[in-house]
Symmetry: C2
Subunit: 294 residues, 2 copies
DNA sequence: CACACTTACGATATTCGTAAGGATT
DNA sequence: AATCCTTACGAATATCGTAAGTGTG
């Protein structure tokens, strides 16, 4: 019992004529006769009563008709759904990214992606850097955007760009006129940054200690936005990822390049090494690569 | 996209191995490869990611799997249902029969039918003779059992037996010792029968008037059972269809043959002339014929 | 006699199985 | 080296189309 046979059956049942049905099926009338005959033999009895002059449904044929229509519709739906998925007309994508990325370079990328693939729904998990890695490892998301993980097995890291720390100071500060500043100069100011659980704080401490520079934290809090507001209010200075630079200028602080030692970290896309990406995810990966490398 | 291809897909997805799946599908492994390949090409993308050493479902393949399983189950169900219908293992039959038939010869026939085809549910409409004809004409039932209709177009009448009227008298009656009686003798007694809307009454009046015999009704009521009880109580006599004879003896009345003029009517099965019977119905027809002609 | 479905038969397309090839553990 | 999937090619099968047959109105 093939879909083709069911189509033939439905076509004949609709018009009650083998000849007319054969036209709509794009096949010869004898071929249609055989197809119906085979179906009848497989099911075990006649579906039509033919009197060479009239074609009528048997009671069993009447019983089959609605079932066949439903079956064909289901078949067609599944096929269409899968095809759409492959053609990226439908689908779902899960991605985790660290907040700094979500707040800066990600939105315009998402806009382009959504324009190119309007049928793909995207769930974005803006979570801490460590959680990004965890969610990818657990398979809860297909893609993750975070700093390069160290020593994590089973993950593949595709680098996007180097994220350097930039200094931020109040516009009223005497440093605001400068374009660049050294770590030593920066850390002699009142320093404001995030609290310990954050990866930014940990990264900052690790990089700074490796460079042999001492620093003291005057204020720390949870939200990066708060840090920025405090800097803008003249309470102190901070160092934040460079990818936030565009945002910073709008927030009323001034950003400065930090001179050597260059403290930077690689931002990239992580995926599970042993899992193939959905087409929706690999399209997103390509999109991110294209728009950040440029 | 054929059911065979879906079966192949599901089999591979279940065991994640082309080689093992090919065994359970009773086909060679390369043939399975091709089948999957064709399915993938039709749907527009890969369903499995093959690394010559591991076979894994792609996200799209994972999406297809439950759909394919459901589709195959539906397919199988429809096929099984139709086959059962043809094999008379499942089905439904609607039949209308006049009450006298239902009360006498029909139950043992139904018992045999049910024994032979336990999967067929039977809806019996025990309605007045005229309603039997109407229900068949309207297509509400497939079979009808009634007196031979006169002048009804579009119906086919298959005669079963001649139903003669028999006289019934009280066991205490002086007529109870006789085996036969004439209409004249019977109608000189207090006569009890059904009221006018009933076909029995109409038939009785018509036949008797054609024979030129006058008769007077002392009592009439709606239920034949009541008539019988009244006769048994010695209130009078009656004439009822001969097919009820077996029942009558149990009801405490005595039945006698009625001599000429022989008043009889043909009982048979009516069907719509332009409609084919379901297998369940034609089986019932054969059963009735076999068990009443004998 | 004309129309509509069935049967018969040759051609085509699809599917299947065997054999060889390639890649990974 | 062994295992597993793919590719290649010939064979079997199924399906289709043309032509002839059959029964009905």
């Amino acid at each position: 019992m093939t879909p083709r046979q069911l189509e033939a059956f439905v076509a004949v049942a609709r018009v009650l004529s083998f000849a007319r049905a054969s036209e709509s099926l794009y096949m010869s009338q004898p071929a249609l006769s055989l197809a119906i005959r085979n179906l009848e033999e497989e099911l075990g009895g006649p579906l039509f009563s033919r009197t060479t002059r009239h074609v009528r449904l048997t009671p069993e044929g009447s019983a089959l008709l609605p079932l066949a229509v439903q079956l064909l519709a289901d078949f067609s739906n599944v096929k269409e759904r899968l095809s759409q998925r492959f053609k990226l007309q439908k689908g779902h994508l899960t991605i985790a990214a660290m907040p700094s990325f979500c707040a800066s370079v990600f939105p315009p990328i998402l806009a382009v992606y959504r324009k190119n693939y309007p049928g793909i729904d995207v769930s974005i998990h803006d979570v801490l850097n460590e959680n990004v890695i965890g969610m990818v490892q657990e398979g809860r998301v297909e893609l993750g955007i975070c700093f390069e993980p160290i020593g994590e097995r089973g993950l593949f890291f595709e680098p996007l760009f180097e994220d350097r720390f930039v200094a931020i100071v109040s516009r009223d500060s005497r440093l605001a006129s400068k374009n660049a500043i050294s770590w030593n100069q920066l850390l002699h100011q009142e320093f404001i940054t995030l609290q310990r659980p954050s990866s930014l704080r940990r990264l900052l401490e690790k990089l700074v200690s490796e460079a042999g520079i001492e620093f003291q934290v005057a204020f720390d809090c949870h939200q990066l936005a708060t840090v920025v507001r405090m800097v803008a209010a003249g309470l102190g200075v901070s160092a934040v990822p460079s990818m936030l630079r565009d945002q910073l200028e709008l927030s009323g602080v001034h950003s400065l390049k930090l001179n050597a030692p260059m403290v930077s970290s690689s931002v990239g896309i992580i995926t599970r090494r042993d899992h193939q990406l959905s087409i929706a995810a690999s399209a997103m990966q390509s999109e991110i690569l294209a728009l950040t490398k440029a």
